[in-house]
């Protein structure tokens, strides 16, 4: 049976999700930030972590965005192959949702139409949209506004198979060290390993939408996540990059099959304002 979903429903949900994601963090992020304050050894670090708690509270209560960089809207769409979208184009419906969300929600418009001519589009469109066709008759939307302080510190490494797991760990630690204070630590580190050049970047981006208290289902990857988190928190960068223990809240790694000749690794750094909202229609 084909299920019909109207473009208005898509637009409305995207609009609400833009506003929601920019004012409230998910439960797992909130709890993880709270826990971090108890683990911080530096007094200045603790002070900053407490400010971040207060900031979240002010944001939610007074409807002020958590961060002024309300990001470029990244949208993951998982669309069941039994879904029929009615009333227009799915793509247009998503952009329209972003446009309405950013205008009506008093969110900052940070998108320029051309990367070199750099004229602001004044409504934060277009979004960056990734589609996946899934089984069933549901549409799952995940919206992640991405700030560029941390996005700018992200990178892709095309490693050699002989670099192995140590090479991968080294690459991730290097990316985090280089990011330092610029990425508004404590950060969340999204990693993609395998696939192709673009696939590993997408894996890394998607890893950032996984709850920070959830580990990879693959045992050796889970171990690597834990080891890297521990190592990152020994780098000394700390909250705000001003020294301390809590440099990262989580390392989330996604993997994918790759070519015999390659070992691509992407590190997508996100700040403590790791925003995402998800809905199933």
């Amino acid at each position: 049976m084909i299920r019909t979903i109207s473009v208005e429903e898509i637009t409305n949900n995207i609009k609400e999700m833009c506003i929601e994601a920019n004012h409230y963090l998910s439960k797992d992020m909130e709890e993880s930030l709270k826990k971090a304050a108890g683990q911080e050894t530096s007094a200045l670090g603790r002070k900053i972590l407490n400010q971040l708690q207060e900031n979240l509270q002010t944001a939610g209560e007074e409807m002020i965005p958590i961060c002024q960089d309300t990001g470029m809207a990244v949208v993951f769409v998982e669309i069941g192959q039994e879904v029929h979208v009615e009333g227009g184009l799915l793509e247009d419906a998503i952009h329209e949702g972003v446009r309405l969300g950013y205008s009506e929600g008093f969110l900052r418009k940070s998108v320029v139409r051309d990367p070199l001519i750099r004229e602001n589009t004044k409504d934060n469109t277009p979004a960056v949209i990734h589609y996946e066709i899934a089984a069933g008759d549901k549409v799952k939307l995940t919206l992640a506004p991405k700030g560029f302080g941390s996005e700018n510190m992200s990178c892709v490494f095309m490693l050699k198979p002989s670099d192995g797991i140590e090479g991968v760990k080294h690459a991730i630690l290097t990316a985090v060290k280089d990011a330092g204070p610029n990425a508004c630590p404590p950060m969340v580190v999204g990693v993609g390993i395998g696939g192709t050049f673009e696939k590993c970047a997408l894996l890394a981006k998607k890893a950032l939408t996984r709850p920070v208290n959830e580990s990879s289902p693959i045992p050796y990857v889970k171990e690597m996540e834990e080891e890297l988190l521990e190592k990152i928190n020994m780098l000394g960068i700390g909250p705000g990059g001003l020294g301390g223990r809590v440099t990262a809240l989580a390392v989330n790694i996604n993997t994918y099959p790759t070519h015999i000749a390659g070992l691509p690794v992407a590190v997508n750094i996100c700040c403590h304002v790791n925003r995402h909202a998800a809905r199933e229609l």
């Binding site: 050894t41 530096s42 200045l44 002070k47 900053i48 400010q51 971040l52 207060e54 900031n55 979240l56 002010t58 944001a59 007074e62 409807m63 002020i64 965005p65 958590i66 961060c67 002024q68 960089d69 309300t70 008093f106 969110l107 900052r108 418009k109 940070s110 750099r118 602001n120 004044k122 700030g147 302080g149 700018n152 330092g180 204070p181 610029n182 508004c184 190592k231 020994m234 780098l235 000394g236 960068i237 700390g238 705000g240 990059g241 001003l242 020294g243 301390g244 223990r245 700040c271 403590h272 304002v273």
Partner: protein, 215 residues
Amino acid sequence: MDKYITTPITAETTKGLRAGDYVYITGTFYVARDAAHKRLIEALEKEEREFYARLPKRDKNNGNLAQPEEEALKKKLREALPFPVIDSAVYYMGPSPAREGRPIGSAGPTTASRMDKYAPRLLDLGQKAMIGKGKRTREVIDSIIRNQAMYFAAVGGAGALLSKCIKSSELVCYEDLGAEAVLKLEVEDFPVIVVIDSNGNNLYETAIKEYAEII
């Protein structure tokens, strides 16, 4: 140590502060980010070209001006800027839009390194304080020392909280830049941390070393 200062920020003010000090600033901030800085510097370059063009029989590539001419040029350049640059504090920030009845929206710092290319020129003309987040280049640090200036960090990603310290906001220029326009803010007890002091001490480097267990 917690300290309280007011703008204008003079060489006297920066002399009393060290990297690592927690400081509350009250007074006036001028807001500018990448696109605004680009225009400020273009305005200075235009003024400078015109100044040299007016000088009689001078080698245009030879920047060694005599003292009175040097001062005259500086004066012209300062006048070309849309805000009084001497002893000013510039906040690297692009706010989210204000809701009705509020002076500003979310208003935390942006990454300062994007202003590295432009900052020394403004410091040389008298700007004393930069407020942002993240690392700076050697050129900026040298310019901080040369001008007894200072780099402060505000907490990145605390824009809702920081907005509460902003009492008023007024457009200065470049309205067409939207979130990147130049603004004049009145702030009260705005919390910052001295990262690079006027002696060139850099908290980002010293603090990480202090807490690092591995490198």
